[in-house]
Symmetry: C2
Subunit: 304 residues, 2 copies
C-alpha cells in the first residue's frame, strides 16, 4: 500500500503514508487473499486486488471522517483534523483513483466492474444513511439495507473478487459472495454494538459517536422493541447545549446497555456468523478456509 503514495505530490504522499501506517485490521484484503489463494491464482494480481480493496476502504474512511467531522480514528487524529475539508476530500478522491488503478492491474474486466459497482453501492448507501439521521421511524429493514451498503457490500465483494480473479467455479464464487455478506453483516452489527459498550481507549474513538450524529443502529431498535422510552434517544438529538447533549448521550447509552438490547443485537450478529460458517463448507477445504473460520469467530468476540 505504501506504493500508492509514490506518485503523489509531497503533502499528499505524506497524508497517504500517514493513513496507511495508522493501522487497521486489514480484514478486507485478508478476505480477498484467502478466497483467491483457495485456488491456483496469479499471486501478483491477487496482491494488486487486495491492495485495491484496502485502498477503497481507506478512501471511504477519509470521506466519512470529513462528513462526520470526526477528529479521531483508530486513536489517531483523522486527516480531517490535520487538513482542511477540501484537501481531505481530494486526498480521498486520489485514494479512490489509486484503488481503481490497482483493480485494473488485474487485467480482469469482470473484477474491475464488480469493484467499481461496489463503490457505487457504498456511496449510495452512505447517502441514504445521511438522509435517515435522527429518524426513529425507520424500519429494521432499512437498517439492514444500510449496513449492507456501508459494510457488507465490500466484505462480500472482497471475497467474491478474490474467487473471481482465481477463476473459481460459478457456484463457489457465489458461496464466497454470500460468506462475505454474512460476515460483513455480523461485523457491522458488532461495530454498532461496540459504539455502546466499547472501551474508548481500545476503540480509539469516543463511545456513542453514532448516536450523537443521529445514526440509528440495531441496539436502538431492540431497545425500543423492549419498550424503551424513545424520549431518552430523541433527547440526545434535540439538546442544543453541548454539555446537556453529553449528559443525554450518557443516559441513553446506559439505558440501551441495561435494556438487554445489546444482548439481542449480539445474538443476531451470532446468527449471521453461524450462516457465514455454514457457507464456508461450500468452498475448498484449505488452510485459508480454516483461517477464515477463525476470523469469522473473532468478528463477534472482538473489542475494537
Amino acid at each position: 500500500m505504501e506504493q500508492a503514495a509514490s506518485e503523489a505530490s509531497g503533502p499528499l504522499r505524506d497524508a497517504i503514508l500517514y493513513l496507511v501506517q495508522s493501522g487497521g485490521k486489514r480484514l478486507r484484503p485478508a478476505l480477498t487473499i484467502a478466497a483467491g489463494k483457495s485456488y491456483p491464482v496469479d499471486e501478483e494480481k491477487l496482491i494488486y486486488l487486495a491492495t485495491a480493496v484496502e485502498l477503497l476502504h481507506t478512501a471511504t474512511l477519509v470521506h466519512d471522517d470529513v462528513i462526520d467531522g470526526a477528529l479521531l480514528r483508530r486513536g489517531n487524529p483523522t486527516l480531517n483534523a490535520r487538513w482542511n475539508v477540501g484537501a481531505t476530500v481530494l486526498a480521498g478522491d486520489y485514494i479512490f483513483a489509486k484503488a481503481a488503478v490497482y483493480s485494473t492491474l488485474t487485467d480482469h474486466p469482470a473484477v474491475v466492474r464488480l469493484f467499481a459497482h461496489t463503490l457505487s453501492i457504498i456511496c449510495n448507501g452512505e447517502l441514504v444513511q445521511m438522509f435517515k439521521y435522527y429518524d426513529l421511524d425507520q424500519t429494521k429493514e432499512e437498517y439492514y439495507d444500510r449496513i449492507y451498503a456501508k459494510t457488507a457490500s465490500l466484505f462480500s465483494a472482497s471475497t467474491e473478487l478474490g474467487a473471481m480473479l482465481a477463476g473459481a467455479p460459478e457456484e463457489e464464487r457465489l458461496a464466497w459472495r454470500e460468506f462475505g455478506y454474512y460476515l460483513g453483516m455480523a461485523f457491522q452489527i458488532v461495530d454498532d454494538v461496540l459504539d455502546f459498550i466499547g472501551d474508548e481507549r481500545v476503540l480509539g474513538k469516543p463511545v456513542g459517536s453514532d448516536l450523537r450524529q443521529g445514526t440509528i443502529t440495531l441496539p436502538i431498535f431492540y431497545y425500543l422493541e423492549r419498550g424503551g422510552d424513545p424520549l431518552v434517544i430523541t433527547r440526545v438529538f434535540n439538546e442544543r447545549d453541548e454539555e446537556a447533549k453529553g449528559e443525554a448521550l450518557k443516559e441513553a447509552i446506559e439505558a440501551v446497555r441495561t435494556s438487554g438490547a445489546v444482548r439481542d443485537a449480539l445474538d443476531e450478529a451470532g446468527e449471521f456468523v453461524q450462516k457465514a460458517l455454514a457457507i464456508l463448507t461450500r468452498v475448498p477445504h484449505t488452510p485459508y478456509r480454516e483461517a477464515l473460520q477463525q476470523i469469522t469467530t473473532y468478528v463477534v468476540e472482538r473489542t475494537h
Copy 2:
C-alpha cells in the same frame, strides 16, 4: 447520462438529474466519440466510454465546488449550495463510481486503466493547486503542470481513450493523445482568461473567482512579467474585509486587463491551438476530424 441516476436513492437521483440537466458543453465526450468514430468501432461501448468521461468530469466539478465553496456554476446554484458538504462529497463519490462502472462496460482493460489513472492525475493536480494558493513565487512551469493535471489530462485521455477503444494504430493513438493535450491546454488558458474578461451573465459565475480564491493563472504571470505591481494582486489575498476585498479584486482585474497580459495569454492559447490543428493531420481524414478542427478553433473564440 440520465441512466447513471437510475439505481440511486431518491435524493441522490434528483441531484444527479439536476447536475446532468444543468448543461455544459459536453466537449469531452464529443472528443471521445469523434476519436472513436474515426475508425470502425463498437458504438455501444463508445457511448459507455463517452458517458464515463463526462461523468468523471461532472464528479470533479461537484467536488471542486465543495472545495471552493462555490455557489454558482453555469448560472445555476451548485449542489453544494443546496445540500450540505457531506451529502455533496458523497454525491461526487457516487458519480465517480458510476463513471468507473461505465468505463468497465467497454470490457477493455487498457481503457479502464487509463481512465482510472487519469482520475488520479486530476486529483493529485487539484491538491497541488490547493497548496499553491496565494503563492506568487511559483513558476510558469508549475502553472502548466497544474492545468495539465486539472484539464489537459482529461482532454488528452478523452481523445486517446476513444482511439484506444477503436483499436487505432499505436502512432495514431499517440497523435490523438497529443491533440487532446494541446486542445486541453488551450481550453484551460482561455478559461483562465475568461475569469478576467468574461461577461458574468454568459459565464454563469462571478468574474475574478480564481483570483479571489488565490489561484494564480497565466494572465497574472504575464501581468507581472510586463512589470505590473504585485501588490495589486496580493492586496486581494490579504484584505480581510469583504467589501475592501471586492474593491481590490475589481482593481486587480482592471490592472491585468489593461496591461496587455490578456493578449499575451490568448496568444499563447492560440499557439496551443495551432499545435493541436497540426497534429490533426496525423489522424484519419473523416468528417469527425473536420468537426474537431472547428471545435479546436472555437476553443479560443468562445465567451464561456
